[in-house]
């Protein structure tokens, strides 16, 4: 047997302080009421650092700093000068890529292979891309001289902490807004390192403010009178609360919420690559992906073949230490999320679906869940309807393209979908009918800063990325 020896990425590159303050007006400050949260490594439950919990007074202070920076510096600054700062940030991200990747894997639990090869390169790419837009806003299709909105309040999730930060901050800054951003309570550390990068780039104070904290901090930020724009990525439930709280205000809102994407495999699909795509669709980032392909729809005529290949492939997945360079599946981000995945998986079994996982040894400490596939699932099962946000795949079947479309669209969500077929005309026919913001053909979970991303229905509204992503931060 070819046993891969442990190949851990070194932690030495990350210099963690025992505790962090809030990043307001260009410097780290103590919170007004002194609350703290511990950020732990989900792979070992070890405490990585303590971060401040921002209260209403801190939110107010940060929003005022952002407003001042908007009025006095960033708003009046010519686009070509804003671009210089964004390019500088992008380059520093590339220079400190390893540090960012290791910290992201430590705090989030995702494998270093993904943070190194996917997250951090995309983060840099987003800053480079929007840096290019900063002096060309008049050519983006929103009029000759579109104006920024002002101060943006942004709340991001824990699944791609740094990437979601980039999706939010890069277009906001390029368009001329200033931001107050709240990272998720379980994954605040890479955002704080990003704050250091803003200092290193000499970004004017107050343009970017980072407030750590939990739900209450986010609520205080979203409801603050001084912000002009709310951008949120996270659960549909919280998204609804935010939509209610900003209703009737001047605040512009974009929401990127949950998903229950269908990954549709036709009988003429390239089977080996389709199986790779299924695996990538649901097990990438432990399934903590809002656009994850969590419902596999397989044409009945190739069901046995696809399932046999899928199980064989799943048996090769390497679950374990996120910092090991050969790990495919890391740790579940938190105990709470692990509970939710376990609960829904048990519901899947009790509703009669057949559960299968490859034999795999899970570490004793930390939060872990083996890659799991449910077969015999129907549209009526809860595991086919609710977002599990974990490495759990539900397999359904279909007979005709029309039935595939019907089943794929039969969900309150509409974030993404995948189509696997060798027939180009069928891809276009399907893509026309799928109610999903992103439709991938013969691939899955591919992201690019030039491509807009966002949802239909309960998956939210507004687009991030591309020229379209600028609209959320311009007064148009």
């Amino acid at each position: 047997m070819f046993e891969y020896a442990p190949a851990p990425e070194s932690r030495a590159v990350v210099d963690l302080k025992p505790s962090y303050g809030l990043f307001v007006d260009g410097e780290f400050v103590e919170p007004a009421d002194g609350g703290t949260i511990k950020s732990i490594n989900p792979a070992s439950e070890e405490v990585l650092a303590e971060v401040a919990e921002a209260g209403p007074a801190d939110v107010d202070r940060a929003v005022r700093a952002a407003r001042r920076a908007y009025d006095e510096v960033w708003g009046p600054m010519p686009g070509r000068d804003r671009a210089k700062y964004l390019f500088r940030i992008a380059r520093i991200i590339q220079e400190r890529a390893r540090e960012l990747a290791v910290l992201e894997s430590l705090d989030n639990g995702k494998p270093i292979r993904e943070s190194r090869d996917v997250d951090v390169p995309l983060v840099a790419a987003h800053f480079f891309y929007y840096a290019g837009w900063a002096d060309k806003l008049g050519h983006a299709g929103f009029g000759p001289d579109p104006r920024p909105l002002g101060v943006a309040g942004q709340v991001i999730p824990w699944n791609f902490p740094l990437l979601m930060l980039a999706w939010k901050i890069a277009p906001a800054l390029a368009a001329g807004n200033t931001v107050v951003l709240k990272p998720a309570e379980t994954t605040p550390l890479s955002a704080l390192l990003f704050a250091e990068i803003c200092q290193q780039a000499d970004l004017p104070p107050g343009v970017v403010n980072i407030l750590t904290g939990a739900g209450e901090t986010g609520r205080a930020l979203v409801e603050h009178d001084g912000i002009d724009k709310v951008a949120f990525t996270g659960s549909t439930e919280v998204g609804r609360q935010i939509a209610r709280s900003v209703a009737g205000t001047r605040k512009k809102l974009t929401l990127e919420l949950g998903g229950k994407a269908a990954n549709i495999v036709f009988d003429d699909a390239p089977v080996d690559q389709a199986v790779e795509g299924i695996v990538n669709g649901i097990f990438f980032n432990q399934g903590h992906v809002c656009c994850a392909g969590s419902r596999l729809l397989v044409q009945e005529s190739v069901y046995d073949e696809v399932l046999a290949s899928l199980k064989r492939r799943m048996a090769r997945l390497r679950v374990g230490d996120p910092l090991d360079k050969n790990t495919d599946i890391g740790a579940i981000n938190s105990a709470a999320q692990l509970d939710r995945i376990r609960t829904l998986a048990e519901i899947g079994s009790s509703e009669g679906a057949e559960r299968w996982s490859p034999p795999c040894e899970l570490p004793d400490r930390g939060f872990w869940f083996a890659p799991t596939v449910f077969t015999g699932v129907s549209q009526a099962h809860r595991i086919a309807r609710e977002e599990i946000f974990g490495p759990v795949l539900s397999v359904l079947t279909f007979r005709t393209p029309a039935e595939a479309v019907e089943k794929a669209n039969n969900t309150p969500y509409g974030l993404s979908a995948g189509i696997w077929t060798d027939k180009g005309s069928r891809i276009l026919w399907m893509a026309d009918r799928l109610r999903a913001g992103v439709v991938w053909a013969n691939t899955f979970n591919k992201f690019d800063p030039t491509s807009p991303f966002g949802g239909f229905k309960e998956s939210g509204y507004g687009r991030e990325g591309g020229r379209q992503g600028l609209e959320a931060y311009l007064d148009v």
């Binding site: 070819f2 046993e3 891969y4 390239p270 690559q273 050969n326």
Partner: protein, 328 residues
């Protein structure tokens, strides 16, 4: 493709019956998505193989090398030197295993047999540790009448080769004359007698992965013991994605028929790092059953010295210069 039912197993023997059945079968194989296949190998290329795993992989890779010389300038002296190297790749370290085989032109087979085994037949045990492969069938183009290609094969076997590396008729394959290719492989297999038959697809000339998958199945259906990527004589030789497609084919063929076929990438594999990427690919595609010199080979010449240098580096902690490893 994973046909695992008993009925599928018995059906495959009928596939070569006619041009029509063969074409229907080959064109019914699932396609290969080029982007996806290349991404998969790129991802596997990031596997980090260190310390004990690396030492294990290097020794395995040495045992899988088909040490090759296929030049117009080959002489008995050159071939004898190659045979000596094959038997004892690292004279300074007796723990270093011999390679799998030497691979030469048919005219050089008797010289190589004498140098490797002292006789024209490979015996069991220590004296027969290294196989003797010979390219045949008008290598590398295959553009000679069938009778001449068969005579080429018979002469290599008579000279002592116990492995035959044949080339397929790419012209016939690319023009869709699958039955012709099939029949020629069957004929060469018969002419090879007990020798193991490696069928070179020359994937650099087949170009598409769909063609590589079809040619792999065609060769296996016709009786190939091994499928091999390249002659090393055209600009594009072995690549990881091509080898991925071939490994998928042998895996699926065993599922369908119960018969295991080996894979040999050849040409362009020069470094230990490359070789380890191939071994990772084997491990995670066809599986550990193929991680043995009976089922996976490297057709290479300069690879061996890099493997030896890395092996010495791992055991001593320091790099030695190229002068510390033998030429040939």
């Amino acid at each position: 493709m994973t046909a695992t039912t008993a009925s599928a197993r018995s059906d495959l023997s009928e596939v070569g019956r006619s041009e029509a059945t063969l074409r229907t079968f080959l064109h019914g194989l699932p396609g290969v998505d080029q982007v996806g296949a290349e991404q998969r190998t790129a991802m596997l290329g990031t596997r980090s193989i260190k310390t004990t795993a690396k030492a294990w992989a290097i020794d395995l890779a040495i045992r899988m090398v088909d040490l090759t010389t296929l030049e117009g300038a080959d002489t008995p002296g050159k071939v004898r030197a190659l045979a000596a190297k094959a038997l004892r790749p690292d004279p300074a370290d007796p723990s270093c295993p011999p390679v799998a085989a030497v691979c030469v032109y048919p005219t050089m087979v008797p010289v190589a047999a004498a140098a490797l085994w002292g006789t024209t037949t490979r015996s069991a045990g220590d004296a027969g540790r290294v196989h003797l492969a010979s390219v045949a069938t008008a290598f590398p183009s295959g553009q000679a009448p069938l009778e001449i290609r068969l005579a080429d094969t018979r002469s290599a076997v008579a000279g002592g080769a116990d492995e035959i590396d044949m080339v397929i008729n790419r012209g016939a394959f690319l023009s869709g004359r699958y039955r012709e290719v099939y029949d020629e492989i069957v004929a060469v297999k018969a002419a090879s007698g007990d020798a193991h038959l490696k069928v070179i697809l020359e994937t650099g000339e087949l170009v598409t992965y769909d063609n590589v998958r079809r040619a792999s199945w065609l060769a296996m259906l016709a009786g190939a013991d091994f499928i091999k990527t390249s002659t090393g004589k055209v600009p594009v030789a072995a690549t990881l994605p091509v080898t991925l497609v071939m490994l998928e084919a042998v895996r699926d063929f065993r599922d369908a028929t119960g018969r295991q076929v080996g894979v040999k990438p050849a040409g362009g594999i020069r470094t230990t790092k490359d070789a380890i990427k191939y071994l990772v690919l084997v491990n995670e595609t066809a599986g550990p059953d193929w991680l043995h010199p009976d089922w996976f080979r490297f057709g290479a010449s300069s690879l061996l010295n890099d493997l030896l240098m890395q092996r010495t580096k791992l055991s001593t902690g320091v790099y030695s210069g190229p002068d510390y490893f033998t030429l040939d």
